[in-house]
C-alpha cells in the first residue's frame, strides 16, 4: 500500500475515534440545551424525538385532533400505487382501518385508510419553549445570585492574587533559613483533608456570629494558597535575576523590584491565576453549603442551583435550564482564556 494512503487512513481512523469519544463526552451539553427548551409534556411523550418537538394539531368539528404521516396509497380516493405520504388528521382510531381528514383540504371530507393508527409516524416539528429560562430567572432571582457570585469571586480574587504574589516572591527570590522546609509544608497543605480543620474553623466563625456572612468564605483567600503560590513561584523563577540585582544596586527596595520589574513581566501567570480563581469561586459549592445555606439572599449561583433538586425534582426542563444558566460564564471564560488555563495546569502538573 502507498505510504501516503496508509497514513491518510490512520489519520481518518484515529480522528474518527476521537470525534466519537468526544461526541459521547460532550453529549450532556446537547441534552441540557434540548431539555431546557422543552415543556414538561414534551419530555414525557413516548416516542418523541430527543430535540424539542411537537406534532401539529388540527381543529376538526371543535376538537383538537392529532396529525400523522400516512402513506396515501392506502387511502380511499387516492391512487393505490402511490408511495407518497401526507400529513393527515386522525378522526377515528382503528386497528385495521382509521378515518382521516386532510388538514389542507378539509372540504374533501372524511375518508378511510387501511392503516393501524398505532403504527403511524408523526410529523414532528421543532417547537422550542423559552419559558423555562424566565421561570428559573424569576424563581431564584438570577440577577441577585449572579451578583452574589461575582462579588465573592472578585473580592476573593483580589485577596488571592495579592497574597499569592507576595508569598511566591518571598519563596522565589530570597534566601532564608527554613525556606525549603516551609515550601514543602505549603505544598503538603494541598493534600490535607478539609475535614481535619473544618470543625474548629466553623465553630470559630459561628462564635463570632459570622456564619451566614461572606467573611468565612472570603477572608482565608487573603492568606495565600498552595496552588497559586506554586504557579507564581515557578514563573518568577524563570525571570532573569540580573535585572533585579542591577535595580538593587541602584537602591531599589524589594517592594519596588516586585512592583516595577517582576509584576510587569508576569501578566501571563497573573491572568492564569485570575481566571482559575474566578472559575473556582463561581463553581465553589463546599464553602457556600457550609457557611451560607441559611442565608438565601447571599447564595451564589452554584448553591442556588443545588436547591433545584428539591424544588424542581420532577421538572427536568427547569433543572436543565438552571444548569445552562450556571454553566455559561465559566465555559465562555474558558474559551476566551484557554491559552492561560492550559499553560497554568501544565505548569502545576508537570513541573517539578
Amino acid at each position: 500500500m502507498n505510504k501516503n494512503l496508509r497514513s491518510g487512513i490512520s489519520t481518518f481512523t484515529i480522528t474518527f475515534i476521537v470525534l466519537a469519544i468526544l461526541g459521547v463526552y460532550l453529549s450532556p451539553f446537547a441534552f441540557m440545551v434540548f431539555t431546557s427548551l422543552k415543556t414538561r409534556e414534551q419530555i414525557s411523550v413516548v416516542g418523541a424525538p430527543i430535540w424539542p418537538a411537537a406534532t401539529p394539531k388540527f381543529e376538526y368539528n371543535g376538537k383538537q385532533v392529532d396529525v400523522f404521516t400516512v402513506s396515501v396509497g392506502k387511502c380511499a380516493g387516492f391512487d393505490p400505487n402511490s408511495t407518497a405520504t401526507k400529513s393527515l388528521a386522525l378522526v377515528a382510531k382503528g386497528r385495521q382501518e382509521s378515518t382521516f381528514v386532510d388538514p389542507k383540504d378539509p372540504a374533501k371530507g372524511e375518508f378511510t385508510c387501511q392503516v393501524s393508527w398505532r403504527a403511524l409516524e408523526r410529523p414532528w416539528t421543532l417547537s422550542p419553549t423559552w419559558e423555562n429560562y424566565t421561570e428559573v430567572w424569576n424563581t431564584i432571582d438570577y440577577i441577585q445570585k449572579v451578583g452574589n457570585t461575582l462579588f465573592y469571586a472578585v473580592v476573593s480574587m483580589i485577596g488571592t492574587v495579592i497574597s499569592c504574589i507576595l508569598v511566591a516572591y518571598g519563596f522565589a527570590r530570597f534566601r532564608f533559613p527554613g525556606r525549603d522546609v516551609l515550601f514543602i509544608v505549603l505544598i503538603a497543605t494541598l493534600f490535607l483533608p478539609a475535614a481535619v480543620t473544618i470543625i474548629p474553623t466553623y465553630s470559630f466563625w459561628q462564635r463570632l456570629g459570622l456564619v451566614g456572612t461572606w467573611f468565612p468564605l472570603i477572608v482565608p483567600h487573603f492568606f495565600a494558597n498552595a496552588y497559586n503560590v506554586f504557579l507564581f513561584r515557578q514563573y518568577f523563577m524563570t525571570l532573569p535575576r540580573e535585572l533585579d540585582e542591577s535595580a538593587m544596586m541602584d537602591g531599589a527596595g524589594p517592594f519596588r523590584i516586585l512592583w516595577s520589574l517582576i509584576i510587569p513581566q508576569s501578566y501571563p501567570v497573573i491572568i492564569a491565576v485570575v481566571v482559575f480563581h474566578i472559575v473556582f469561586a463561581w463553581n465553589d459549592y463546599f464553602g457556600p453549603v457550609i457557611y451560607l445555606s441559611g442565608a438565601k439572599d447571599k447564595w451564589p449561583i452554584s448553591y442556588a442551583l443545588s436547591t433545584f433538586n428539591g424544588i424542581y425534582g420532577q421538572q427536568p426542563q427547569l433543572i436543565q435550564a438552571g444548569a445552562l444558566m450556571a454553566v455559561l460564564l465559566p465555559v465562555i471564560l474558558f474559551f476566551v482564556a484557554q491559552r492561560f488555563f492550559i499553560q497554568g495546569i501544565v505548569v502545576t502538573g508537570v513541573e517539578k
Partner: protein, 337 residues
C-alpha cells in the same frame, strides 16, 4: 510539584543564623516579611484548627455548648466509641454488624472502583491525543478539558439528567440498542448501579488529568523513541520502557490527588441523594458520615475524632505511596538506583 516532597531538606540550625552577614540577615527579614501572609494564614486556618480538632477529640463537646462552659475531658472515650461504631466501620470486625453498610467499607469499595477510571481514562485519552496521526489536536485538547470548568453541581445535574431512568438519553439509547425494558438500569436509585452512576457523574474530572498527562507525553524526548525504533522495539515494550517511566511522575501526581480526593468523597452523594445514604445506605461515605455527625447531629467531639482518623489514614496512605515512589517513579536528572 511532588518532587519537592520526596527530597526533604535539612532544617537549619540556630547557629547558622547567628553566623549570617548583615546583608544575608536583611534578605532573611525581607523573605519572612513576604511569606508572612501565608505563615499567618497557615497558623490561623490550618495548623491551629488541626490542633484544635485533635483536642476536641478528647473532649465531650457539642456545638450548642455555651462559650463559657468548660468542656469535659473524656480521654480516649471518643476513640473507643469510634472502634465500636459499626457505621463508621474503622474496625473491620464490625463491618457487617450495622444494618447499613459501614462508611469506611463503602469509601474503600468506591475508591477501588473509581481509581482505575481516574488514572486510565485520562491516560488513554492523552495517548490518543498524542498520536501523530490525529488532526486538530489543539481543538480536541481544549474540548476535552472544557467540561472541567463546568460547576460541579451543574455537571451532576447534566449527567444526572442523562442517567434519568425514564427520560435520560442513556437508557433511551440502551432501549434502542435492544435492552429489554425490565433490565434497564435504575442508576442512582439502584444499590448495584449507584457507584457506576457516580463514576459517570465525575467523568468530566478526567479533562484536567488528561491535559497534565498529555503535557508529560509531549515532554518525552523524541530521540528515545527513535533509538528504540532503531533497536526494533515493539510498541508495547516502547510504552513500558520509555513512555511509562518518563511520565511516571505525572501518573504519580494524579494517583496521589485521586486517592486523597476519594477518601474525602461526599459532595456528589450530598447533592444526588441529599446525603441520606440512599439507596440502601450505599452512599453514606465516611466523609459524609463525618459531616453529618458535625452539622446534623452537632457532635463536635465525635466529628473531630472521625476527622483525625481520616487524616491519619490519608497521611499513612500518602507516606506509603511516597515510599514506593523510588521503585517506579522516575525523575529526570536523578540516577535511578
Amino acid at each position: 510539584m511532588l518532587e519537592e516532597l520526596s527530597n526533604l531538606p535539612k532544617l537549619p540550625s540556630l547557629g547558622s543564623i547567628r553566623k549570617m552577614s548583615s546583608i544575608a540577615r536583611r534578605e532573611m527579614k525581607a523573605g519572612f516579611l513576604f511569606i508572612s501572609p501565608w505563615i499567618f494564614g497557615f497558623l490561623a486556618f490550618t495548623f491551629l484548627p488541626m490542633i484544635a480538632t485533635l483536642i476536641f477529640s478528647f473532649l465531650d463537646l457539642k456545638i450548642t455548648d455555651g462559650i463559657f462552659s468548660t468542656p469535659k475531658f473524656v480521654g480516649f472515650d471518643n476513640y473507643v466509641q469510634l472502634l465500636k461504631d459499626p457505621q463508621a466501620g474503622i474496625n473491620p470486625a464490625k463491618w457487617f454488624e450495622s444494618k447499613t453498610p459501614s462508611s469506611l467499607l463503602i469509601t474503600i469499595k468506591f475508591a477501588l472502583f473509581s481509581l482505575p477510571v481516574g488514572i486510565f481514562a485520562p491516560l488513554l485519552l492523552a495517548l490518543l491525543m498524542n498520536n501523530k496521526n490525529l488532526r486538530g489536536q489543539f481543538i480536541f485538547r481544549s474540548l476535552f478539558y472544557m467540561p472541567f470548568v463546568v460547576p460541579f453541581v451543574a455537571s451532576v445535574f447534566l449527567w444526572g439528567g442523562m442517567l434519568n431512568p425514564e427520560s435520560g438519553w442513556i437508557n433511551r439509547f440502551l432501549e434502542y440498542a435492544g435492552v429489554p425494558n425490565e433490565s434497564l438500569p435504575q442508576w442512582a436509585n439502584d444499590v448495584n448501579w449507584v457507584y457506576p452512576t457516580y463514576v459517570i457523574m465525575g467523568i468530566w474530572g478526567v479533562g484536567n488529568a488528561m491535559l497534565i498527562m498529555l503535557a508529560g507525553l509531549q515532554g518525552v524526548p523524541t530521540e528515545l523513541y527513535d533509538a528504540a525504533k532503531v533497536d526494533g522495539a515493539n510498541p508495547w515494550s516502547i510504552f513500558w520502557n520509555i513512555t511509562f517511566p518518563m511520565i511516571s511522575p505525572v501518573i504519580f501526581y494524579n494517583l496521589i490527588l485521586n486517592i486523597v480526593g476519594l477518601f474525602q468523597y461526599f459532595l456528589v452523594p450530598l447533592v444526588v441523594n441529599n446525603g441520606t445514604g440512599r439507596p440502601g445506605g450505599a452512599t453514606l461515605f465516611y466523609n459524609l458520615y463525618l459531616y453529618k455527625t458535625f452539622f446534623t447531629f452537632q457532635d463536635m467531639a465525635y466529628g473531630s475524632t472521625l476527622a483525625w482518623f481520616l487524616f491519619l489514614v490519608i497521611l499513612l496512605v500518602t507516606v506509603v505511596l511516597f515510599s514506593t515512589a523510588k521503585y517506579w517513579v522516575y525523575y529526570a536528572g536523578e540516577a535511578r538506583s
